[in-house]
C-alpha cells in the first residue's frame, strides 16, 4: 500500500515536472527565445534536405509511437520492426555521406582560393535579448579590454 502510494506520488511529481518543462519549451519556442530559424539549415546557412527528412521522419515515428502506446490497454511500448530502423539508417547514412561530399568539395574550393558561398544570417524570429549582434559586440568589447590589459 505504502509502495503504491509512493509510486503514485513520484509519478505525479514527474508528470508535473514534465508538464511544466513542456509548457516552458513551447512558450520559449513561440516567443523566439529558442531559435528554430535554422532547424533545417546547414552550417553555410542553406536549407538542408537531409535535415528536413530527419525532421519529417522524427515526427512520423514519434506520432506513430505515441498513437500505438495510447491505443494499447493498458498502455505499453510497441515493438519496433527492423524496417523502421533501416529507414532511419538510410536517412542518417545518406546525411553523413552528403556531408562528406560537401566537405570534400568545400575543402577543394577553399584550397583553390575560391571558398564556397555562405549566406548572411537572416533573423526571422522575434528578436530576443542576447541575439548574435549583441553577443558579438559584448565579445568584441571584452576582447579589446583583455588585449589592452595584456598590452599594459
Amino acid at each position: 500500500m505504502t509502495v503504491t502510494l509512493l509510486g503514485l506520488v513520484i509519478g505525479w511529481i514527474l508528470t508535473g515536472f514534465l508538464g511544466v518543462l513542456a509548457v516552458m519549451i513551447l512558450i520559449k519556442i513561440w516567443k523566439g527565445d529558442i531559435d528554430l530559424n535554422y532547424i533545417i539549415s546547414d552550417e553555410n546557412g542553406w536549407a538542408s534536405l537531409s535535415r528536413f527528412q530527419f525532421l519529417i521522419f522524427t515526427f512520423v515515428v514519434s506520432m506513430s509511437l505515441f498513437y500505438l502506446i495510447v491505443a494499447n490497454a493498458p498502455p505499453k511500448y510497441p515493438i519496433i520492426p527492423s524496417e523502421i530502423l533501416a529507414l532511419l539508417g538510410i536517412s542518417g547514412g545518406s546525411y553523413v555521406l552528403s556531408k562528406g561530399i560537401q566537405n570534400s568539395r568545400d575543402v577543394s574550393m577553399t584550397a583553390a582560393g575560391a571558398p564556397p558561398e555562405q549566406k548572411d544570417p537572416k533573423i526571422t524570429n522575434t528578436p530576443v535579448a542576447g541575439t548574435a549582434e549583441t553577443t558579438d559586440t559584448k565579445t568584441t568589447t571584452q576582447t579589446t579590454v583583455d588585449l589592452s590589459k595584456t598590452t599594459t
Partner: protein
Amino acid sequence: MEALATALRYETLALLIGLISIIGYRLLIGKINTDGLLKDKTGDGKFSPGRLQMLVTTLSIALYYLLMVMKTTETGRLPDMPTEFLVALGGSHAIYLGGKVHGMLANKLKITLSQVMGKTKPENGG
C-alpha cells in the same frame, strides 16, 4: 493510477501537437529558413531534380506510413514497412548522392582546368 496515465497522455499529446504545429506553421510562413532546399549546392547552384524527387519520396513514404499506423489493428508493434518502399527510398538517396558526387567532381574538374589554364597562359604568353 488511471488519472496519472491520462494526464501523461494528454501532456505528451499537447507537447507533440504543439511542436509540430509551431514548426509546421513557421515552415509554411517562411520563418524557418528553406532557402536552397531544392538547389544543388555542390554543383552550379541551380534547381536540382534529384533533390525534388527525394523530397517527394520522403513525403510520400512518411504519409503512407502514417496511414498504415492509423489503419493497423495490431497495436503491439509498429507496422512493417514494405521492402519496396525501403528500396525506393534507397534508390532515391542513391540518385541524390550520385548528383552530389557528380556536382563535386564537375566542380573539381573546373577548378583543376582553371588552374592548368592559368599556369599555361603565362608560359604561352612569355
